[in-house]
């Protein structure tokens, strides 16, 4: 164990352990959950820009009937990569960024349970993302949709869907490792007094998400392995002529795919469950209801997968059952919305950008939730499935819900992470551009779908009368793009300011606001003892008999900087090369499966070197 501020002694053993915790190269060896969180976030935002460009290509192609910007095959690649990027390379890692950075801070821990495994997760996620994107230069990107329905995906002659299978297996390993790591962290590393029901709602949602990941990723792993075998080794899992069944893929995919939807949205639910109370100056209304409804969504979410398959011919019994479970899952979701409303009710609402994003999340998610309920009405879904109505629905959930929520989180925690506030005026412009843009883009898609516009189409004829709303949608997409641009400028500009955000700029409730911004490498000078939910708030304010707030004299003592702690004697694990090395071997194995076996062999050797070096690494004491 190295102590952070004292240069480590020369390490014993074959390889010296890196010691730098600052500077450019420290980012490659870091195992600090905060730096890894920033890496996750920065990478996810890069992919967000790429996925956004893909979205704009789609919208320009569909701006007018008979669009000529993209050919049919290019369009298949672009819409597939747009979805894969936004789901696996943006929303999941951006959520992982928040969980990584904040969960240890919110439960009063110094790091995650397995810091090197955490670094490994990040590097493997990056490897998987780069592997997927290398397909553009190696014969064609995935072109069978993110849902990859067999046998189209298994018989397509271009290599795209092989990249899909291997790329998602890689990011799947990364997510699995990350999920186990964070779940163990939450369960085992809470500060004294931080009982499960004193954890912030965000940490609860994080725990639910990690457990869902741990249980749903194995299913897609099996499916992807079978797809890879069908494509590469001539098996017949999904080939009906040889006794396989294409429907098998759909069950496996959606058994993962629907839990995945909640994996994407629950982090945003957690984030706004933090933001709304802070800017209402009231506790989260019915904290336990919110937590339990999150857990309920976690469970029921595993029992609704076939609502993606109402037109597949599962028969009336299955369609009835899954229609009913789909309706049931709307109940705990509704509970959350009412609780958020009640949190704001009679509060002292301050409309910061973070608060606007949180309210925007609730309001736009409601639209997606309501259209979701119409899918539970199975016969009307017979008309709407595979049309733009569905595209409208899940974009209200994933953009109106997940992305707005995550942006709220960015504005809310940015000062904690970087010590600098984002500009509020620019933030509000960003918010209104995104919210109006998203409603212009995705609102009309409900109408288009009902008018008979199918999904995943690269064109539409003028005769169907779909032109006007497609034009509106394209204009809206560019508004969103400008909104994102404003964010990028705002983010970059924030680094020109001094680190003057202070420890607690929002009058926060949870203990991450009790330490300096940005937090020192050891997080807490002393591990706090937690006495209540919203512990930091109760250090600052007491309630009188009528429930009114009374500031505590000298409460909070937020400015930990006064103590000038130098970190002496706080033991933290040292940085390491090996997570990066181990992760770098995996894409080589992937290329080996596609091209030459010797590459897979080299990759396997690299992975083994990484793992053994990792195991045998000296502890640099």
């Amino acid at each position: 164990m190295a102590s952070v501020s004292v240069p480590s002694e020369r390490a014993r053993g074959v390889l010296r352990r890196p010691t730098a915790v600052t500077g450019f190269w420290s980012w490659f060896t870091t195992i600090d959950h905060k730096k890894i969180g920033i890496l996750y976030g920065a990478t996810a935002l890069m992919f967000f820009l790429i996925g956004g460009v893909e979205a704009l290509l789609i919208r320009v192609q569909l701006f007018q009937p008979d669009g000529k910007l993209l050919t049919a095959s290019q369009y298949s690649e672009v819409f597939t990569m747009h979805a894969i990027t936004m789901i696996f390379l943006v929303v999941m890692p951006l959520s992982a960024a928040f969980f990584n950075y904040l969960m240890p801070l919110m439960i009063g821990a110094r790091d995650v349970a397995f810091p090197r495994l955490n670094a490994f997760s990040y590097w493997l996620f990056l490897s998987g993302g780069l592997f997927l994107y290398s397909s553009w230069f190696l014969g064609g990107a995935p072109n069978g949709g993110w849902f990859g329905y067999a046998p189209n995906s298994t018989t397509d002659p271009t290599p795209g869907m092989t990249f899909y299978a291997i790329g998602l297996l890689l990011t799947g390993i990364a997510s699995t490792a990350g999920a186990v790591n964070l779940a163990v962290t939450v369960l085992n590393m809470r500060a004294p007094g931080m009982s499960l029901f004193r954890m912030p709602a965000f940490v609860w949602m994080g725990l639910v998400v990690q457990l869902r990941l741990a249980f749903s990723l194995p299913i897609i792993t099996v499916a992807l392995a079978e797809m890879l075998f069908d494509r590469r080794f001539g098996t017949h899992f999904f080939d009906p002529a040889a006794g396989g069944d294409p429907i098998l893929w759909q069950h496996l995919f959606w058994l993962f795919g629907h839990p995945e939807v909640y994996i994407l949205i629950l982090p945003a639910f957690g984030i706004i469950s933090e933001i709304l109370p802070v800017f209402s100056r009231k506790p989260l209304f019915g904290y336990q209801f919110v937590v339990f409804s999150g857990i309920a969504i976690g469970f029921i979410g595993f029992g609704v997968w076939a609502h993606h398959m109402f037109a597949v011919g599962l028969g009336p019994v299955a369609n009835t059952a899954f229609g009913i479970t789909t309706a049931i899952i709307a109940v705990p979701t509704g509970v959350k919305i009412f609780n958020w409303m009640a949190t704001m009710y009679k509060g002292d609402l301050r409309f910061t950008t973070a608060m606007l994003f949180a309210i925007g999340t609730v309001m736009n998610f409601v639209v997606g939730g309501l259209s979701g309920v119409t899918h539970a009405v199975v016969p009307s879904d017979y008309q709407q499935t595979d049309t733009y109505y569905i595209v409208a629905h899940f974009h209200y959930v994933l953009f109106g819900g997940a992305i707005l929520g995550l942006f709220g989180g960015l504005y809310y925690w940015w000062p904690k992470i970087f010590g600098r506030l984002l500009n509020e005026r620019a933030g509000k412009i960003n918010f209104w551009l995104m919210v109006i843009g998203l409603n212009l883009t995705f609102g009309p898609m409900h109408i288009l779908g009902l008018q008979g516009m199918i999904r995943r189409t690269f064109t539409y004829p003028e005769s169907l009368g779909l032109t006007f709303w497609n034009e509106v949608a394209t204009v809206g997409a560019f508004m969103i793009a400008f909104g994102v641009l404003v964010f990028v400028v705002n983010a970059v500009a924030s680094f020109r300011h001094a680190k003057d955000a202070g420890a607690d700029p929002w009058d926060g409730r949870t203990i991450e606001w009790s330490i300096p911004s940005p937090p020192p490498i050891y997080n807490f000078e002393e591990i706090p003892t937690v006495h209540a939910l919203d512990d930091f708030w109760h250090r600052k304010y007491a309630e009188d008999k009528s429930g009114r707030l009374v500031p505590v004299q000298a409460g909070g003592s937020a400015d930990a900087g006064e103590h000038h702690v130098d970190g002496h004697g706080i033991h933290l694990p040292g940085p390491s090369y090996f997570p990066l090395i181990a992760a770098a071997g995996f894409p080589l194995i992937g290329y080996g499966i596609m091209y030459h076996w010797w590459m897979a062999f080299v990759g396997a050797v690299v992975v083994l070197v990484g793992i053994f070096g990792w195991a045998l690494e000296p502890s640099a004491e």
Binding site: P151, G244, Y287, A342, M344
Partner: protein
């Protein structure tokens, strides 16, 4: 602030108004032209209004709360710290559950109603999805042709008004797929959808059979499209259903039962038939009554000229220019198409068009 809120309200109202009155498009789910499609709309519309009610209450509530309790400058209010209210929360758990249970009743009833057997006088047609066109086979005994087989057609389905059409939807299975046309990826999942006259869409899954019921009230043409992503030309895998009066339909059936017309010797169409037999068309296409032209990999052309559309209803069968353009270079019309380019001369194309146009 108030201005912004008004903006949001206005937009929401606009979206609502627009959703409620979508203009007529020719494959509009809200413009049903037969009893089955109407049954679906009649289920959707009330649910939509329930959703609108919830929307107004929830979004209106949020906006009211946001307006009323916003922080006012210079007014340092310490709100009461309410932590929850179990009775209230149980209430708003039960309330949506009740609303959903009410919606579930007609939902389940309609699921089972649609799954019931078709009426005895229904016309049975098997639809097979191929990359990227539709094959129809009329399977009833009275649809037998003079030569003994069933009536087979492509892309455009012809039906009588006022009668249930019971479609069996499927796709070719498996290895056939890989070798049938000598091209990989032949057998994939499609989805058959004619929004205005059928009870929704059903997937055409290789090795599986699904069923759709359709019925049109009035003569006319109803369009649809493949709804499940089926490869690069998914977006232009269109189709048409033409509803004829029962009398016209009888005449159509009588004509379909006949073998293909034989072109007059010496005519351009006769030259076209020779070209048809010699350049390679018969590797995939059948023309009933012409010996040697019996393949099933591509659309049956026996009554080609009686149809309105071809190439997944992308082109007009009645337009010689469209046919010539297609024969000249299929891949230029539709990327990735299975039909090869035989590099036909202009004369060959002219003759082939004449022959095809003679196949009434």
């Amino acid at each position: 602030m108030r201005k912004r809120v008004l903006w949001v309200l206005g937009l929401a109202a606009l979206a609502l108004a627009l959703a409620a009155c979508a203009p007529n498009a020719s494959q509009d789910t809200l413009n049903p032209q037969g009893p089955y499609a109407r049954e679906l709309k009649n289920l959707f519309v009330p649910v939509f209004w329930v959703a609108v009610g919830v929307f107004v209450v929830v979004e209106g509530g949020i906006l009211l709360i946001a307006l009323k309790y916003r922080h006012r400058k210079g007014q340092d209010r310490m709100p009461a710290q309410t932590h929850g209210n179990t009775r209230l929360e149980v209430g708003w758990t039960i309330l949506p559950a009740v609303v959903l249970a009410v919606v579930a009743v007609p939902t389940v009833a309609t699921i089972w109603d649609l799954a019931s057997k078709p009426p005895a006088n229904a016309i049975n047609v098997t639809v097979t999805g191929r990359q990227w066109w539709w094959k129809y086979e009329y399977t009833d005994p009275e649809m037998k042709t003079a030569a003994g087989g069933q009536i087979i057609s492509a892309n455009q389905l012809v039906i009588p008004t006022g009668r249930t059409i019971y479609l069996t939807v499927t796709a070719d299975a498996g290895a056939g797929s890989r070798s049938d046309a000598g091209v990989p990826g032949f057998a994939v999942i499609h989805s058959y959808w004619v929004p205005e006259i059928c009870d929704g869409k059903q997937d055409a899954v290789p090795g599986h059979e699904n069923h759709i019921k359709c019925q049109a009230d009035h003569p006319g043409t109803y369009t649809g499209n493949c709804a499940e992503f089926c490869g690069l030309n998914h977006g232009i895998m269109k189709l048409e259903v033409t509803a004829l009066s029962p009398h016209d339909f009888e005449a159509w059936v009588a004509n379909e039962k006949l073998d293909a017309a034989t072109p007059e010797p010496g005519s351009l169409a006769a030259t076209g038939l020779d070209t048809f037999m010699s350049v390679g068309c018969i590797a995939c296409h059948a023309v009933r009554g012409v010996e040697g032209a019996e393949a099933d990999a591509a659309p049956n052309l026996t009554h080609f000229a009686s149809r309105d559309c071809m190439v997944g209803c992308l082109l007009d069968n009645q337009n010689p220019d469209d046919i010539a353009r297609w024969l000249h270079d299929p891949a230029a019309v539709k990327e990735g198409v299975k039909m090869p380019n035989y590099h036909l001369s202009d004369d060959q194309i002219k003759a082939l068009v004449a022959y095809l146009m003679s196949l009434k």
